[in-house]
Amino acid sequence: MRALLQTVGLAVAWPGQPPVLSGLDLALGPGERVGLVGPNGSGKSTLLLSLAGVLPAAAGAVHLGGAPVRAGVFNPAVGLVFQHAEDQLFCPTLADDVAFGPRNLGLAGAALEARVAEALTVCGLSELGERPVHRLSGGEKRRACIAGVLAMRPRLMLLDEPSAALDLRSRRRLIRLLAGLDQTLMVASHDLDLILELCPRVILIDAGRIRADGPAREILGDAALMAAHGQEVPPALARSRVAGWPRERAIAGGAA
């Protein structure tokens, strides 16, 4: 399978600082959903910004669909959902905000309206198009950000902490929404249960380098690996392990 996204020896550094990321080689296939995990400051957000072409590569390269991603050059094939929804919503109404990208792609009139309506419907926001963005709830704002990116029909979507500060119902709704998308997804999150539910593959990064890349259950379930990089086995995996113990041992443990 030919990779949709590929990085080769990618290094990223802020001006005058040592590299935040270095020597990153990774490839994502079309339609793949990949979780990006790691401790605070490990470089997750920086990686997403670099993949989206916001930050330039200090070394190496990023290719999307075989073409290089150049920093600062508009590339509608990749969409980034920022960690803070407030960073992304800048138009007065939700419909205006969702229309912003497609309008910049050259859509107008009925085609633009149809694109906006489609994105709002997918994100369950079709009733809220005329609502001012500052009057949306936290969960609605998060889905509004996704709608704004989806309306541009990107091939790759990068999501930075999509479930941060969401209540349980909003988080569940978000997971359902993301699970139903056809796009290739890369999701950076500390919400390991969300990653486990959404992403069959996980990349663990720490101190700017990839430390593990493989099936989500194997990596997230490796207590030693996770502990070595300041992480914990997600509760859902820990629970399933306890439930999977031999019956006698579980009963004995319970009796003790």
């Binding site: 072409g53 508009f74 980034l80 800048f90 309008r103 910049n104 990116v149 541009m152």
Partner: protein, 240 residues
């Protein structure tokens, strides 16, 4: 399209052009005798737009400023004394200047609010671009508005956080307030940079958007009427 406002043109470019023409026309008026016509014209425009409540809210600050001009200038400027009570002297030149400045100020603010207050910032920026101003200027306007909004929000949150942890609210703690302001500016700059990145990622300034359609007949008529009225006012002013 802009939010409907009575009989005014819907195209933001036409409204911006009308506002600029009328504002420059009003600013060029030099005779106090023309002020009633100026104010009447602004009032008629506001009534045509049909949003008196919004207009009155926006006029509160300028009204205070205009009143200050009318009250203070006659007392401090000019030589011809109209009335005297003890040390207070009401002078004709100051009164005339005060009325002229206040009248122009209120008329300009009224037409600006009437024509532009219903336009969201990004539409106003797009209108500026549509009228041929440099893209950088339009972007600066857009981001400045958003940035100021962010700074205000940051300062309010920081002030609340200080108060909740026993911080002083008065001016005696100037260093504390200074640090809070500096922090708010730094945070807001980061937020503004993120917003700029989000806008660029969604194609802002990529030059792919469909160019705006030519102005419609009603928009062109609106601009012509504004130019005609501004010209008429200036003619009256010269004759007076």
């Amino acid at each position: 399209m802009a939010e409907p406002a009575g009989l005014l043109p819907g195209d933001p470019r036409a409204r911006l052009a009308m506002a600029l023409i009328l504002a420059f026309g009003f600013a060029a008026v030099g005779q106090v005798g023309t002020v009633p016509a100026l104010l009447a014209l602004a009032l008629i425009l506001a009534l045509v737009a049909g949003q008196p409540a919004r207009l009155l809210r926006g006029l509160r600050g300028p009204l205070v400023l205009a009143a200050a001009f009318v009250l203070i200038l006659p007392l401090v400027s000019g030589a011809t004394v109209l009335w005297q009570a003890g040390p207070l002297r009401l002078r004709a030149e100051g009164l005339e200047a005060g009325l002229l400045i206040a009248g122009r100020l209120l008329a300009i603010v009224t037409v600006t609010l009437t024509l532009l207050a219903t336009l969201p910032a990004h539409r106003l920026a797009a209108a500026l671009r549509g009228l041929g101003s440099p893209a950088l200027l339009a972007d600066l306007l857009l981001l400045t508005l958003r940035y100021l909004d962010e700074v205000r929000g940051e300062i309010l949150r920081a002030r609340l956080a200080r108060r909740l942890r026993g911080g002083g609210a008065g001016w005696r703690d100037l260093p504390g307030h200074g640090a809070m302001l500096a922090l708010a500016l730094i945070r807001s700059q980061r937020r503004a940079e993120n917003i700029w990145a989000a806008m660029r990622l969604r194609g802002h300034a990529a030059g792919l958007a469909v160019p705006p359609p030519p102005l419609g007949a009603s928009d062109r008529a609106g601009i012509a009427v504004a130019a005609g009225l501004a010209g008429l006012l200036l003619l009256m002013d010269r004759v007076a």
